[in-house]
Amino acid sequence: MNSTAFLILIWVFLSGSLLPAAELPLAVRDFTLDNGMKFIVVERPMAPVVSLVIGYKVGSVDEKPGITGMAHLCEHMMFKGTRIFGTIDHAKELPYMRRIDSLAEIYHAELAELRHRFDDTGKPRLDSLKNEIHRIQIEQSKLIVKDELWETYLRHGGTNLNASTSNDATRYFVSLPANRLEIWAMMESDRMTGMVSREYYSERDVVHEERRLSLDNEPFGRLEEQLYAAAFTAAGYGWPVVGWASDLETMTRHDLEQFYKKYYCPDNAICAIVGDVDFEEVMRIARKYFGPIPPAGKPQPPTTMEPAQQGERRVEVRFDSEPLLAIGYHTVAANHQDQPVLDVIAAILTRGRTSRLHKRLVENDKTASWVRADAPFSRYPDLFTIWLGPKFPASTADNEKAIYQELESLKTIPVSELELERIRNQLEADFLRDLRSNLGLAFRLVNYEMLTGSWKNIAANLDKRKGVTAEDIMRVAAKYFTPENRTVASIVKKAESQSGAVRKASGD
């Protein structure tokens, strides 16, 4: 136990008002166990509830071709139980799992063979193997207590119960009545080391259905997938978090176990606890349950970096829907000094009704029904993106041209002090609003710790964004918003795509 618990107040200086410190009772304290697991705690006794977030620093960026989607599949499997949860007797399950594994090995070998022969005559054989795997799993289910973790949280009053996987991180979260802290600690510490990948192959199918639902059949999902796939040729942000369909048919339980062992360890986990809790009690419970877990050594970060882009890339997706446009520019990671500037630029472009792109495209030109710019906040250099829904009869090309003009003016004309002041006021108000919910605050603490190295950057980053000058904006806009650094993706309505609707805009 590394007893460096200390107390920091998040300070907010509100322009024009003097606030006594007592009115911002946000004491954030942290401590790190000997095994490297860090806890961030905010005591907030407003209501007898607590929000709990555990973040593991592992996302799809940590995968490799062949196992794309593994971080997300692993998140699903974390709900299938452990050696002591989700089963009546784990030892008795092992023979079933071994039989499934050996059938799966044959299945994967035959699938690989068929794929290489470009042949689908073997499909009936594959189907029968799959049915046999399914049959054994149903036999095994006599020993399985279905979705016990989930059920236990719910019966203890859990709300906001879920987990999410992104490119950079995997987070497990729940809000509970405040007296359930120990229940949570026991279950979470148990699944940090004891996960058992029972029902793996049916869950892999579930994830494949998730992919069909959110990527294959939704125009947005498709557009996003194709934008990133085109913009990243080497680095791990190029594949979708849910994974490529072909990998979802071939990743094995063995692949999963390897992945889990490497990334699910206390020295790769961050926990935030916000609510009606007592700091000393949190320390006691954390030591008791998470303390005995040995560290595994921080996993190596991915080594492949994206080479500089050397020319515009354009990608068209033909889809049965009205057109959509996405533009991405390679920029920086969360920790980079230009990140706060990009954040301010995104606000200038599309935050609110007075923002530049909204005003221009939605209200004046009337060529778009909506537009949104996002600055990335990621572990590694990521895309600054602009998303837009054109309004008939305007095309994506009409809108592209106007967007490039607005980006050009950021490079050449200093943003007025009035405009900057508006953004600063909004940033301050947002900062306060984001502190309102326990769960929201817990997420921010975990995210900043994982992506910037310290939750203390929440306040530091606000100051940095407030300090952004007109010159910073001109410099950063000129540095990143260039045609050769750009990827443009668009959805083209299926019936009309013959005419080639991603025409190159003439304005750059």
Partner: protein
């Protein structure tokens, strides 16, 4: 609350039962078969959790202003912020379906169209410079307005908020933009399969009733500013508005501000238009809409209940067991966990609707397992009426409802909004006090009874959106099969 009895303000206190203290330490009762983990969990001793249901007259003040506006207030000095929510007694239900677009546009244009003293652009500049958020809308059963501001800007925020509610200008140029936005959203209404299925299912079940209707461009294209002004005049009166105010303020000061902001706005004695009732009937059968997709989108359901139905608690628990309790529910266990056929599967039973709400089970599965998924879903639905639910399943559902109840009142904004909605929707004032008792009193025979009565297999409508030539089997063994066209958005190109 004598200190609030200031000039022009009537303090009204609802007669509610005395504040009650609840003990939330229901230790889960598990029965065999048990996992080794659950035995370990049972050894953890839970401390008792003591908390109170927030009450009007205690934490929350309920005041009626002179002009009839009802205000709920809760001070919370945790952060220097103020949040105001308004509910306005209007909605699409009071108007014919052809006016849906007008009602919805009026809601958006309250905020978007400026006020009589401020053009839309100056309003936007002022609000955004002060980081004040105000948004308005009108939905099916209510209008709503929301304001969030830093505490130091409370006065400006409330002033503008009241102007928007009382003196909206509905600027013609902005109206044209909003109309073209509407047109674009109608043009795009067939882009997302989920949206198509939800919409067409409701339309099939409710027929021409406004609950199942959706806005058509032909009804919108000729709307003028005068139509919005007339609709506003018809519904926006202080005695038909409720406000919920929470945040960093002092109650007497806030009441003075509200009084000042809404001063001189006369109450109205006009009757609200009558609301057409939903005709209760079932439309059994299978309805297929063709679309070239890699998954079939499935919805199975029927008309449910009105919110004053005393069976609502038994129904809530029954639906939790069937498909509402996410992973623990029968539909998810069977279709997702056992068979791996779907990512999203479950059911919802609306128990809060003014007129008959919907029961609907849903699932998306790859085309080749469509028939199989529907068979499994129908079996699970039918099983609910056979008395096959175990004591343990019911106990688990009850525990979840009871232990989650504390989250109903987890923040100050949430507390005032809950109490306001209760009154707006005509729930009895002791609704929350009796809630746990109502949940606890549901027994196994009730589950069987409500399943028989409300989700009878023979009365179910099955709707599928997908590419039927790729389905594993024809769907006509589930009932009479009807092919429905996917309605064109009806916006000329």
């Amino acid at each position: 609350m004598p200190s609030e009895r200031q000039a022009g303000i009537k303090a009204v206190r609802l007669s509610v039962s005395i504040m009650m203290t609840m003990l939330l330490a229901v230790a889960p009762v598990l029965s065999a078969p048990k996992s080794p983990g659950s035995k370990k969990l049972d050894k953890i001793r839970l401390k008792q959790l003591t908390w109170k249901i927030p009450q009007i007259g205690n934490e929350v003040q309920r005041i009626m202003l002179d002009n009839g506006m009802v205000v709920f207030l809760l001070e919370d000095h945790g952060l220097p912020l103020i949040e105001v929510n308004a509910l306005i007694r209007t909605g699409q239900i009071y108007e014919p379906p052809s006016k849906m677009g007008l009602v919805s546009l009026t809601g958006t244009m309250l905020r978007g169209g400026g006020t009589v003293t401020m053009s839309p652009d100056s309003l936007n500049r002022l609000l955004e410079h002060m980081a004040i958020t105000i948004e308005t809308s009108i939905g099916m059963e209510s209008g709503s307005a929301y304001m969030s501001a830093l505490a130091k800007d409370m006065e400006t925020g409330l002033e503008i908020f009241s102007q928007i509610l009382r003196w909206p200008a509905f600027d013609s140029a902005k109206l044209e933009i909003e109309k073209s936005q509407f047109r674009e959203s109608i043009r795009r209404r067939n882009d997302s399969p989920r949206e198509i299925l939800n919409r067409e299912f409701a339309h099939l079940i409710y027929g021409d009733h406004v609950y199942g209707a959706y806005a058509q461009w032909q009804d919108i294209k000729d709307i003028s500013r005068a139509d919005l002004i007339e609709l506003h005049r018809k519904y926006f009166h202080p005695n038909r508005i409720m406000l919920a105010v929470a945040g960093d303020f002092r109650t007497p000061e806030m009441l003075n501000l509200l009084e000042k902001s809404f001063a001189g706005w006369p109450a109205s004695t006009l009757e609200l238009p009558s609301v057409p009732e939903v005709e209760y009937e079932s439309k059994p059968g299978v309805f297929l809409i063709e679309k070239d997709l890699s998954q079939a989108y499935i919805r199975i359901g029927k008309l449910g209940i009105k919110r004053d139905n005393p069976d609502r608690y038994a129904i809530a628990l029954m639906n939790y067991i069937l498909g509402g309790g996410s992973f623990t529910s029968r539909l998810t266990t069977r279709v997702r966990s056992d068979e791996g056929l779907a990512y999203s599967v479950g059911s919802s039973f609306d128990i809060s609707s003014r007129d008959y709400g919907l029961f609907a089970a849903h699932c998306q599965t790859k085309n080749g397992t469509t028939h199989r998924a529907i068979s499994l879903m129908l079996k699970e639905i039918a099983d609910m009426a056979l008395g096959l639910v175990s004591d343990e399943e019911l106990e688990m559902a009850r525990e979840a409802f009871i232990n989650q109840f504390v989250f109903t009142f987890a923040g100050s904004g949430q507390i005032v909004n809950q109490l306001m909605s209760l009154e707006y929707n005509d729930y009895p004032p002791d609704y929350y006090e009796k809630y746990l008792e109502n949940i606890r009193s549901v027994e196994l025979p009730d589950i069987k009874r409500v399943a028989e009565k409300y989700i009878n297999r023979d009365s179910l409508t099955i709707m599928v959106l997908g590419k039927s030539s790729d389905f594993d089997k024809g769907l006509d063994d589930f009932g009479k099969l009807t092919n429905l066209p996917l309605p064109d958005p009806g916006v000329d190109r």
